[in-house]
Symmetry: none
DNA sequence: TAAAGTCAAAAGTCAAGGAAAGTCAAAAGT
DNA sequence: ACTTTTGACTTTCCTTGACTTTTGACTTTA
C-alpha cells in the first residue's frame, strides 16, 4: 500500500499540527518505522523542503536531533517573493508542485484554485518542446500576479 | 469472444459504482486478469478518458498507484461540453475570453478563478505565435477538466 | 586542572538497486 | 482495416547501506 515515506510524512505533519516546530531523534524515528535512518532524510528533503514551507535544522553527535519548523510567512510577501525571484526563469514539475502545495497550505489559494494552477503546469498542458520548464515558470508567475493584484 | 479489455472495463465500472473515486495497483490488476500491465494503460486511455467522463491520476515508484475518478457531468454540462468538443483544437484569445466570461456568468467559476484561467490564456513571448492558439486550447481544457473532478 | 586527545553516538551524503507506472511500436486477433 | 495484446524500454519514486562528518563525554597529559 502506501509507502513508508508517506507514513513518516503523515506522522510528522500530525506532530506539527500540535506545535509550530518539533524536535525528533532520527534513529529513534527510523526504528519506530522499521526503516533505515537515512530514509528520514529522504522524507525530509522530499516533503519538508523550504519550498514547501519548512525549515530543518539539526545537530549531530551525542544528544543530536532534528528540528522541523513551519515557516511563518506573510501571504502577500510570499506571493511577491515567488514572482520576483523565487520561481525564476525555469520551473520543473516537482518544484511547481511544491510551490502550489505550499500556497494551499498557507491558505493563499483554495483547493479548487490549487487544482487550476496545477492543471496549467502539467506537461500535457504545455507545448511538447524543450522549453517546457521555461513555459511553466512564465505561466505560473503570470497566474500568481493576478492573485496579487486582487487583494 | 469478449476481450480482456472489456472485462477490465466492467470491473472498473463496477468498482466505480460503489464509490466515486477508486485507487488501484496496476500490476496487481494485471495479474488478476492475467494480462500485461501495460494493457491496463490501454484500457484506461481508450475507455476512461476525460472525454468519456473520467479523470486518471497516478504515482510511480514504490507504493505507486492509479486513481480513477468519475466526473460529475449532470450538474456541469457546460464544462463537459466545452471540454469534449466546444473548445476544439485551437482557441484564440477572443474565444477564450468569451468562454471564461460565460463560465463566470453562469457562476461555474468565481471571479478569482476566472482571473486565474485568464492569466493562463495570455500570450507568452516564449511561444511561437503559430502554436499559440493550440496551446491555449490544450491548457484551458486541462484546467476545466480539473474543475469537473470536484463536486 | 586545563588543554589536548580519543571514542562512540549521532546525523549527513550519495549512489546503487528496487518497485511501480508510462510509452510505443510491433504482433496478434477480429 | 481496426482493435487488442504484448514486451522491451523509459521514467519516476522509494529504500537501503556504505561511508563521511560532527559532536559531547570521557581520558590523558603537562
Amino acid at each position: 500500500m502506501s509507502a513508508v515515506s508517506d507514513s513518516i510524512e503523515r506522522f510528522i505533519i500530525e506532530l506539527l499540527s500540535e506545535s509550530n516546530d518539533i524536535e525528533l531523534r532520527r534513529n529513534q524515528l527510523a526504528q519506530y518505522f522499521g526503516c533505515s535512518p537515512s530514509q528520514i532524510n529522504y522524507v525530509l528533503t522530499t516533503r519538508f523542503s523550504p519550498e514547501k514551507g519548512y525549515l530543518i535544522t539539526s545537530k549531530r553527535g551525542g544528544g543530536g536531533h532534528i528540528t522541523i519548523a513551519r515557516i511563518q510567512t506573510d501571504k502577500q510577501e510570499l506571493l511577491y517573493s515567488l514572482i520576483s525571484g523565487g520561481i525564476g526563469d525555469s520551473l520543473d514539475k516537482g518544484r511547481a508542485k511544491s510551490i502550489i502545495q505550499r500556497l494551499y497550505n498557507e491558505k493563499i489559494v483554495s483547493l479548487r484554485e490549487a487544482h487550476l494552477l496545477w492543471a496549467a503546469m502539467e506537461d500535457s498542458a504545455l507545448l511538447p518542446h524543450a522549453a517546457c520548464d521555461k513555459q511553466r515558470a512564465v505561466t505560473l508567475k503570470r497566474m500568481l500576479t493576478t492573485l496579487l493584484k486582487e487583494e
